[in-house]
Amino acid sequence: MQEIPVTRYPEVLIDRPTHYCPGCQHGIAHRLVAEALTDLGVVERTIAVSSIGCSVFLYNYLNLDTVEAPHGRAPAVATGVKRARPEAIVFTYQGDGDLASIGMAEIIHCANRGERVTVIFVNNTVYGMTGGQMAPTTLLGQKTTTCPGGRCLEREGAPIRMAEIIASLGGTAYCARVAVNTVKNVMRAKKAIRNAFQYQLDGKGFSFVEVLATCPTNWRLSPTAANERVATEMIPYFPLGTFQDCAATEEV
């Protein structure tokens, strides 16, 4: 009788406890990135750009060459990295405050130039690290510490759908929105993240994956209730799917 492990964690994923709150899905997203880089055999040529927010500590969990970018500027930093080392696989890992608010100019122009970089965008509809303030992706009616009565369309505008915006830009080769709330969605997310890196590897252009994730602490929900909210509230507003795929376009 012998035991064969079904689960294998990639070597690039550092074996240490994370600082994330219980149920926070950054851990899943980190693992999917680690698996994609490992599967494609590009770990040793990858340069990561970490951003501001809970995921600034990306470098504590992924054993990669990493540079820390100022708030929102990761796509500009990644541009500099890629231009200096075109042979490297370059990715940023950003949250919704970082990418869709303070870093809106940088992400739009990085995508529009078609920089050969990959952006992993973790959207949990709230500023996590600073204590749960309203984000550009906060859903209407969602209560945060800076919209305690719930986000209001008239006052704060509508939540921004980044994947749709990024898909509309000329330099985007691949753009998808995924979730990690169910096993099926995690499998799809894994495939999308792998596609995104594959497109960079093939020099096709800019690639972008929006990952819907939970922030149980700042949503004031249990991890399992937060996970249910992804299906009941987030996905209806932020539909999952592939919004741009240059390979598919070419085939038509």
Partner: protein, 75 residues
């Protein structure tokens, strides 16, 4: 016994996403606390034989706290 699930109890934060993911419904929240003060996830010994080794629990675990083994009888 086709499979075995191993929880790294020191890593578990008791989020119970694995409980939500388990199709056999055999993962439960323990009454025990780990060193971090979380009530950990566990599979009662007597129910381990119901595990099919799908590893959905590990797939959903944000803390890499779960390892699943398939058990093969020697030929």
């Amino acid at each position: 016994m086709p499979a075995r699930v191993q929880f790294r109890e020191d890593r578990c934060k008791g989020c119970l996403l694995c409980v939500q993911a388990c199709p056999s419904g055999i993962i439960l929240q323990s009454s025990r606390f780990n060193q971090l003060g979380y009530k950990i996830a566990e599979i009662p010994h007597e129910r381990m034989q119901e595990c099919k080794g799908c590893a959905f629990c590990a797939l959903m675990c944000p803390d890499y706290a779960i390892t699943v083994f398939k058990i093969e009888e020697d030929a």
